[in-house]
Symmetry: C2
């Protein structure tokens, strides 16, 4: 029976504490109950807070932990909950936990972080030179604070053998099942995921992420071009056209554009088009062919490749995730 400790941070999202707890708790149990077999729990789960007192989570909800972090003995794995709200403030409020994590790690305990909990893990310094992930919306901040960590923004889970990270918010489920599989085998993990009515095959958080279209720079010409792209992406656009609009040499334009926005013109245009395509695919009754033409591409096959590179999913799969359904069982 493996021992899991969940580090309940001050300012955590409550569900990032209870979610993993329930996932591990239900392993070997919920499926068995549902199928009329005898439950056989696989894990012992302890929720620990920095000082052993109730932890104030988002929405002013208090969770009473089982103990303080210093009372934790012989954990096999520690899971760091997600910070809701101001990450940098939360780091300051959880200093003891950071030191404690380092000591635990040195004594052989594995550590996994959830969503913005990766900031706490990075703060320990243990991630230096290693691969990590966090919520897609916090990538810039993370890179700025921890340039030595190799961040994989599109990964849902990273595995360094003894350090794990998971992507945004509800990716704690994927991480939990991944760890359950590692610790108790695939069958238990699949059964647990099915009993919890939760998929267990996601590979990336790319499809969930929003693109940034940086407008925070001062280059008026470039801003104008950005706006123009966003209004005219349905038509064929070439770099030459864009350069002309700024009265620049093409090569110069490319450089200036990249410097201002962080993206090359094509990459930017692609993002705008992918973004539009996503929105179109979310509507019912859309085919990828229509969408392709509508966002300004001529060829389904090549746009499909681009779409896949950006979202990590085939068009049909993307639709499955977000397409509007009209068939909820109404009054029967």
């Amino acid at each position: 029976m493996k021992k899991i400790t969940i580090l309940a941070l001050r300012g955590a999202a409550a569900s990032s504490i209870t979610g993993p707890m329930d996932a591990f708790l239900f392993a070997g149990v919920l499926w068995n109950i549902a199928c009329g077999q005898k439950p056989s729990p696989c894990f012992e789960i302890t929720v620990a807070s920095p000082d052993g007192k109730a932890v104030k989570c988002a929405n002013r909800l208090y969770i009473e932990p089982h103990c303080a972090i210093h009372d934790v003995k012989n954990a096999d794995l520690i899971m760091i909950s997600a910070i809701a709200g101001d990450v940098e403030r939360a780091i300051g409020r959880n200093k003891e936990a950071i030191d404690w994590l380092v000591r635990q790690y040195r004594s052989g305990v594995h550590i996994a972080s959830i969503c913005t909990g990766a900031f706490i893990l990075a703060e320990t310094g243990l991630l230096k030179g290693k691969t990590a992930t966090t919520h897609w919306g916090y990538v810039d901040l993370f890179r700025r604070r921890y340039p030595l960590v190799h961040l994989r923004p599109d990964a849902l889970i990273t595995d360094e053998g003894d350090l794990y990270c998971s992507g945004g918010s509800n990716a704690y489920n994927d991480l939990s099942f991944y760890l359950i599989e590692k610790l108790s085998g695939r069958d238990i993990a699949v059964q647990c995921s099915k009993a919890m009515v939760q998929d267990f095959g996601r590979a990336t958080q790319a499809p969930y992420a929003a693109f940034r279209f940086p407008k925070g720079h001062a280059e008026q010409d470039i801003l104008a071009v950005q706006r123009w792209i966003e209004e005219n992406y349905t038509e064929g656009i070439t770099i030459a056209m864009l350069a002309d609009r700024c009265a620049m040499g093409q090569r110069t334009f490319e450089r200036r554009f990249k410097q201002s926005t962080g993206e090359s013109p094509i990459a930017y245009l692609q993002k705008v088009r992918i973004n539009a395509a996503k929105a179109l695919l979310e509507r019912p009754h859309s085919t990828f062919e229509e969408v392709t033409y509508h966002v300004g591409y001529e060829d389904i096959s090549s746009f499909r490749k681009i779409f896949q590179r950006h979202t990590g999913l085939r068009p049909k799969e993307y639709q499955r995730l977000f397409q509007q359904r009209n068939q909820i069982q109404r009054a029967g």
Copy 2:
């Protein structure tokens, strides 16, 4: 700003309290933060327990509610958390809540149940003659206790206009997003689901459900046939063959089989085959054609239809959900 109350039951699964809370809490907030816009919360969420004191959840975790149910004023919607463990005992321990729910409903508040929370909702009597759903593993118990409720075991969500139910465990996410869509519009709901890295397009919990193969009866002949089917389903099987094995007339056999197992022989055989097909599809590199032949069908096209009827998904989609992936980002 709509007011949501979450009813924290004694003996609840903690994540069924905090999960919906965070979903509503993040609506209009998390996406905005992630995209660098100003957060604008859509909901005010209150967690209420029967007596206002901390609620003991599964794994002996205590959650402190914001208030007692009797302090709740002007709620628009009440969400009933899920019971973990012994449902009938939990009903006894939460009597006050049941009366309170009835009064709230009569005064115009909408009510939604999560997973086994449907038992509490059914206990109020409000579901009589209406459509409901609950965790797929609790269907038999539910039908026995509440025969007048029209249970849709495969539905992930049911909507009676002012009464909602959701299926197993993590279906609280789907329900939360569904309600967010109803109350704040589709855009907010989709953004919230993406920010939480959670899909928003699931329609049924059928793919997650396990079949029961009832062996609890005393008819030795029938039991023998059941076992025989489970060992020989890869071959062509006809009812006549099965009847012969029991030395019964075919019609008699069918009646006896159904009486003992609750299923017709064909339905039973189908379930066994679907079950095997599911397991095969979960292995990497399996094609539906191979699987079809392997489980004893001759025709892909017709087996596809059967598969869809039982699981609610096309074969390819099922694979996507549960097929083993080997590409977690390891030490970079």
